[in-house]
Subunit: 339 residues, 2 copies
Amino acid sequence: MKQKITLKEISRRFNVSISTVSKALKDSPEISEKTKEIIQAFAKEHHYKPNNIALSLKNQKTKNIGIILPEIVHYFFSSVITGVERLATAKGYNVIVCISNESFDKEVINMQMLANGSIDGFIMSLSKDTEKKQDFHHINEVINQGMPVVMIDRITDQVNCDKVIIDDFHGAYSAVQYLIESGRKRIALITMPDYMSVGKLRTEGYKKALADAGIEVDENLIVKVEDFYGGFEPVEELFKNNEVDAVFGVTEFFAVSAMKIAQKMGKSAPKDVSVIGFTDGIISISSSPSLTTVSQHGEEIGEKAVDLLIKRLEEEDFESRPYETEIIKSSLVKRESTL
Amino acid sequence: MKQKITLKEISRRFNVSISTVSKALKDSPEISEKTKEIIQAFAKEHHYKPNNIALSLKNQKTKNIGIILPEIVHYFFSSVITGVERLATAKGYNVIVCISNESFDKEVINMQMLANGSIDGFIMSLSKDTEKKQDFHHINEVINQGMPVVMIDRITDQVNCDKVIIDDFHGAYSAVQYLIESGRKRIALITMPDYMSVGKLRTEGYKKALADAGIEVDENLIVKVEDFYGGFEPVEELFKNNEVDAVFGVTEFFAVSAMKIAQKMGKSAPKDVSVIGFTDGIISISSSPSLTTVSQHGEEIGEKAVDLLIKRLEEEDFESRPYETEIIKSSLVKRESTL
DNA sequence: CTGAAAGCGCTTACAG
DNA sequence: CTGAAAGCGCTTACAG
């Protein structure tokens, strides 16, 4: 049970001062070669590593970045974390993950917990509650304290900071356009409530694509789902009461769930109903037929967010630069659920 | 841009000592009511929160726990994190997440990075490389330094520590038994190489179930997949060259992939081929037909791991207690891919 | 070439 | 009732 060794212990061992040990280990030219050799050898043998906490206190930076996400068990967010973790680790930062579980209160608590010196900056995506409530004081407070924040995906213009998003509007637009080009006319939309920034943009993309093709928007074909992982009865109603030859779902799960409901009702995909989703995750690959979908490139979003955050943390001139909103291009991945 | 306020600044503001401020904010009986009131009011107004790093250094504990996982984008591991994060946050701990990406080297680097004082203890699951290599010195080193480790899911008996696993053997056993009871006799197994602890146990469960039912194990029906997310050609060969009336896949993805291959070859599930997977994730719900699967209760595993870790961290008598291996019961979730 | 001192932000036993 | 001092583990400007 050899505990971690400290500078103090090494200094005592050789009857020198702590400063000498510290300098010797940094190979400072101030210290004689002989002393350095002895001390370095001893440190190596005992696996000396400087204590991170002490360094953090001294340097006034933790080399930790905090990330607050609404959830994590689904492809998009976990791929974001993968990207964040990869670049952060490569740059010498640790990643502290908090999950708001779509709750405003948890989001606030998480932020305050981390803002007390545990991290150097935030990456975050708004919880559903927060978007509904439109209350962003906790984020602005943190920013006012001088801690940089990068918002991703679910963002708001009521917070002034760096942002990384995808082109939700265009992603949706081109998905719907693709359906139209393949001859579909009765295209249903399964989307989120409008207070969700991404849901709103994707809905607008859908409407614009229809309009540009001269197809009138039929509000009966638009279903807004409150609960992202259940409660799809309205989708059943949709198929029952309307003629539908295509579905665009603004999440993978919306799309596949709609497809399964259609299949249960005797419609076959893609013949009777073409289906396109959003997020190119495992669901899309595993479903039958596999799903055509808009890829969000989550890892790329995560990496870009880390890049912006670390720049603001480390680059002298960057700190005072105006905030950027980086837009990652989405892309349509064609599979079996469309013709 | 009001920076975070410190005790020093408050003390200067009222011309008292730092000690007085510190005590006043802790509502110490040593301090006069009047002083306490003034200081507390001021602190509240300025949102004073003690600096976590300073507390960590003083208390010699960080209230952070580190978790190292092979990957995160798939259901089982992300549900483990969800469970870990939930209980940890509730108990006042932050969670630092590292991803080994199935690489031994990254696992070692991650551990060393966190072991330098950033965290109080580890939760981890072995990378594929590490299991293959059977090199666990980095874990034992950390434990020898007095830092508790809880291993989950992918474990080894070459490290002595608390562990949380599921009953892989029995989970597999009952899945295969269920297939046998429904009349299947030519049951294929899609599994991992034997060096993967969980793969090995599930394979053994499969074999035992067959043996107990008096069915001879046909090695031609066993496919070992090296790459967990691709390279399923051997599965095609399996169906081509053998009569198969059921498949047990030791991951969700193995099972669904095999099912899709069977479907492509004109076999229908569950009529021609019954299919059971492992992990009750979104793939299982989204596939057509939906997948019967062995649920691993990832969140529960995560919570139990946190529970064991924090006990060892905080409970006086627990520290010296013998290590426990907690076994979480798996359960068979029946859906459409079996009759 | 080596070491004492100050400091990062906090706590707490001790003195007054 | 208040404050000075020591300490957590480290770094670094300064003195010798």
